[in-house]
Each structure stands twice: as structure tokens, then as C-alpha cells.
């Protein structure tokens, strides 16, 4: 069932991609519309910072548009697109880490506030303020633990456990062998579990 849906999705993407390749810029709007949320959430979980994630997502989309003619439909368009955003996120993280080391400012300091603010809008529908607070705090802890993972583990965990991609898709997005996906995921989950038990205590 999900395979059929995916196949259809892919087909629809391709239609717009072909338009874009012919120079129809407006067709790209449909692709942005369809993928912006997933792109943003991948970037957000990778970066742990909402503003940075927005920037990175934008950059990734622009970059995708620039090189859309190079897309040969060997893989799904979404796979190609998500690879771009993952790579942009990793590059930006490296930049930020270098900046942190040089200037002594940690993005973690501002991170929590911004993440909190960003998540706030997601909780507007939730009527219980106490629950909201608790959930937000919990999510902040989880995100902090995700942030503590090495990039290689983090990307697998984000794609598999948060975004729910299959091993096959992750293998394509990250261009790493199947075995590596599994071993990294295994390490990532264990590390995250250890981190969470440390931070929250009893799960």
C-alpha cells in the first residue's frame, strides 16, 4: 500500500522536475510545497535549531533548483532532495562547531530558547498548559541527546526513527552501505538510550 503511494508520489515529483528542467520555474513551487515540511524537519532534528534549520532548508532548495538539470531520475527525487538537505545540515553544523570553538559561543545556549519558541507553535492546539510545558521540556531533552550524537549516527537516527525512512531509503539518501546503516543505527539508539536515561532518569 505504502509502496504504491510512494510510487505515485515519485511520479508526481518527476512531472514537476521535468517542467523545471525545461525552465519552468513555477513548477518548482509544487516541489517546495510537497517537501518543505519534511526537509525542514530533517534539518531541524539534525541541527537542533529552528532558525538554522530554516536557513539550511532554504539553501538546500535553492541548491536543488540550481542543479535540477543534473537530476537523472536514477533515484527518487525526494531521496535526492533529502540528501541535499542532510549534507547542507552537516556542513552548517561543521561551520557552527568551528565558530563555537573559535569564538567560544555555544549554539546550545541559544538553541533551547529558539527550539522552545519554534515548538511552541506546534503546541498551540494543545489546551493543557501543564502538559505543554512537560512535553516541551521532554522534547528539549531528547533533542539535546540527539545533538550529542556524532553526525554519522545522528543522521541515521533522524532518518530512521524520526522520519521513518526504510533502510533502503536511508542507504540511498546517505549513499552508505546497508551494513553501515544498521551498525550506525544500532550505536545511535544505544547512545540515545544511555543519554536519555541519564538526563530524564527512569524512562
Amino acid at each position: 500500500m505504502s509502496n504504491i503511494t510512494e510510487a505515485r508520489t515519485e511520479d508526481e515529483d518527476l512531472k514537476y522536475v521535468i517542467f523545471c528542467q525545461k525552465g519552468e520555474t513555477d513548477a518548482f513551487e509544487m516541489l517546495v510545497e510537497r517537501h518543505q515540511k519534511k526537509m525542514l524537519n530533517i534539518a531541524f532534528r539534525m541541527m537542533g535549531n529552528y532558525d538554522e534549520a530554516c536557513d539550511v532548508t532554504q539553501e538546500a532548495f535553492v541548491s536543488a533548483y540550481k542543479s535540477i538539470k543534473k537530476f537523472k531520475a536514477e533515484a527518487k527525487f525526494s531521496t535526492w532532495l533529502y540528501r541535499i538537505v542532510v549534507n547542507y545540515s552537516k556542513n552548517r553544523l561543521k561551520q557552527l562547531n568551528a565558530l563555537t570553538k573559535r569564538e567560544g559561543i555555544s549554539i546550545d545556549d541559544i538553541q533551547e530558547v529558539r527550539t522552545g519558541a519554534a515548538l511552541n507553535q506546534s503546541f498551540i492546539s494543545n489546551s493543557n498548559p501543564g502538559m505543554q510545558m512537560e512535553m516541551r521540556e521532554r522534547e528539549a531533552h531528547i533533542q539535546k541527546c540527539i545533538n550529542s550524537l556524532d553526525e554519522g549516527y545522528r543522521e541515521v537516527l533522524v532518518l530512521r526513527d524520526i522520519q521513518g525512512f526504510s533502510y533502503e531509503e536511508i542507504k540511498d539518501i546517505l549513499k552508505i552501505p546497508d551494513g553501515t546503516v544498521k551498525s550506525r543505527l544500532s550505536r545511535a539508539r544505544n547512545s540515545l538510550k544511555d543519554c536519555l536515561t541519564k538526563v530524564i532518569g527512569d524512562l
Binding site: T25, T57, V62, A118, I142, S186
Partner: protein, 315 residues
């Protein structure tokens, strides 16, 4: 037998059910007897649930529009670069543009140069071709082959005209040459030229030198050449067209022959042959038409017909 660490490493994948059957069995058997690993598995499972239940963030308002604005900017930049640098598509417009630029520049420089040339060389200078035959007659006579001389004449005239930026059509030059031939023939008979051709030539040169003054010197042209083009009479008038008609009427009145009118570069040149005894009266009448600036009428009374070249200029 695997120890707890190995099992714990396999647990995350056991959750996904992505272990081989053998590994899966090993894990299942182990956790039955190991509370530590069972605990770890529970925590892993809870962790996975927590992580997957993380709330998705929503894009900020106008996110798509912002992205599209950037994308369109990029598209325009791309197409601009394509227009500039991609072959065929744009090279031609650039080449055309360059060609047009050069053409316009060339015309502009030519125009500017023309004005300057007019300042340096007074417009009175370009003389009718008729004059050529007058001063060059002795030489023509000396030469046995007239054809050769005419050819030379032609070349000289051509050179002279080119220097003044008046580009003559080949037809005009040819006509001039014919004129020379035609006009020269009767004059061959006059004894005067035969007896003292060199002296006459010298005289003519001096005269022209005197008349043309500094302007000719400034132009740096050989004086002999300039004298060939010199008109007898320079007439300054307010309207050259009316004046030309009046001069023609006068010439007819005084029974002039071989009247020829040429209009060139805003001046009119009239050549005619007039009987010697009528010349004085004609000149008197000519003064009423316009201002006579220069006169160079052959004062030789022995000649029956005098060739007049009247150049009419705007005052």
C-alpha cells in the same frame, strides 16, 4: 555464547526485527535469562517511541514564498549569464552591437574631421576642373602624347579632391578629362603658348600663389596643383541658386558660349567662354549680382575668347 555487550549491540536492531533468524533466536534466548538486557531492551523501545513521537515543526509563514523568491532570483541570474556567455544565443547580438558602435563612431569621426578640414582649407579652394586645362596647356603642348597628360591630370585632380574629402565619382573625373581634351584642342593653335610656354606657366604659378595665400600653404598642397583648380572669379552672394541663374542670364546676354554649370558642396561653378570685348561689360553687370571677391581674368587682349570660371559661394 555471546556476552551481554554483544547482545546489547544487537538489541536496537532486534527492535526493528532486522536481525537474521539466528541472531534473533540468540537474543530472545538471552533476554529470557538476563534481566539487565531485558531492561535495556525496554528502555530502547521507550526511547524509540519517544523519539518517533517528537512533534514535527511547521515551516514559518511565507517559507515557500521566500524559497521561491530566491529560486526565481537564481533563475534570472542563470538566464542572464546564459544570454551573455552561451554561444549563438547571444554572441550575435553582441557582435551586431559592436558593429553598430564602430559604424556610428566612424561616421562621427568622419563628420568631425570634415568640419576641421573645412576650417583648414577654405571652401573657395576647390576650383573647377576647367582651370586645369588653362594653366597646364603649355605642358600639354610640350608633351607629344596628349592622352598621357590627361591621364596625369586626372590623377592629380583626383588626389586633390580626395585630400579635401570631396569624393568625386569616377564619372565626374572622366567628364573633366574629356573637357580638358575638348577645351585644349583649339588653344593649341595659339602662337603665344608655343613661343613661350615655360614663361607662361611660371607666370600662372606666381599669380595663383599670390591669390591663394596662406590657406593653401597651410593645406600643404603643391601650389601648381592648387592653381589648376583656381577659378577666375569668386562671387559671394546671399542665394547661390538665384545668383547662378542671374549669372547664366548675363552670360547669355553677352553671347557667351560653352556655358556649363556644376553644383557641388554648396557652391555653383559656371564656366563659359566669352568674347574679349564683352568682358568688361559683363563684369560690371556681375557686380550687381553679388560681391566679387577675387578676379583673375586673363588680361591678354589678343585672345578673342576668354574662358571664365565663376564660382558662386554663399556669403
Amino acid at each position: 555464547m555471546k556476552n551481554c555487550d554483544d547482545i546489547k549491540n544487537s538489541l536496537p536492531l532486534y527492535l526493528d526485527n532486522s536481525l537474521t533468524e539466528a541472531d534473533k533466536k540468540t537474543v530472545e534466548e538471552h533476554i529470557k535469562t538476563c534481566p539487565d538486557c531485558t531492561e535495556a531492551l525496554t528502555q530502547l523501545s521507550k526511547t524509540k517511541k519517544m523519539v518517533s513521537s517528537l512533534t514535527d515543526v511547521n515551516p514559518p509563514p511565507w517559507f515557500k514564498q521566500k524559497i521561491m523568491a530566491r529560486v526565481r532570483e537564481e533563475a534570472e541570474k542563470k538566464s542572464f549569464v546564459q544570454k551573455l556567455f552561451y554561444p549563438l544565443q547571444i554572441k550575435i547580438p553582441i557582435q551586431v552591437f559592436a558593429t553598430v558602435c564602430i559604424a556610428v563612431l566612424a561616421v562621427y569621426i568622419y563628420r568631425t574631421g570634415e568640419e576641421q578640414m573645412k576650417e583648414v582649407v577654405p571652401s573657395s579652394l576647390p576650383a573647377p576642373v576647367m582651370e586645369v586645362q588653362k594653366s597646364q596647356l603649355p605642358e600639354q603642348k610640350l608633351e607629344s602624347s596628349t592622352g598621357k597628360v590627361i591621364q596625369k591630370e586626372e590623377q592629380l585632380a583626383q588626389k586633390e579632391e580626395t585630400r579635401r574629402e570631396i569624393i568625386p565619382s569616377p564619372a565626374t573625373t572622366a567628364d573633366a578629362a574629356k573637357d580638358i581634351k575638348r577645351q585644349a584642342t583649339p588653344d593649341f593653335k595659339t602662337d603665344r603658348y608655343e613661343s613661350a610656354p615655360a614663361a607662361e606657366s611660371e607666370l600662372e604659378k606666381k599669380k595663383s600663389e599670390h591669390i591663394m595665400g596662406a590657406a593653401v600653404k597651410a593645406s600643404g598642397a603643391p601650389q601648381a596643383q592648387s592653381s589648376m583648380m583656381k577659378p577666375n572669379i569668386l562671387l559671394k552672394v546671399s542665394d547661390i541658386y538665384i545668383a547662378a541663374e542671374e549669372v547664366e542670364k548675363l552670360l547669355t546676354k553677352y553671347e557667351a558660349t560653352n556655358i556649363d554649370k556644376q553644383m557641388k558642396n554648396g557652391k555653383t561653378i559656371i564656366t563659359a567662354e566669352l568674347k574679349n570685348q564683352k568682358i568688361r561689360n559683363f563684369m560690371e553687370n556681375l557686380k550687381t549680382v553679388g560681391q566679387i571677391r577675387e578676379e583673375n581674368i586673363p588680361s591678354d587682349n589678343t585672345e578673342e575668347n576668354i574662358t571664365l570660371t565663376i564660382e558662386i559661394l554663399k556669403q
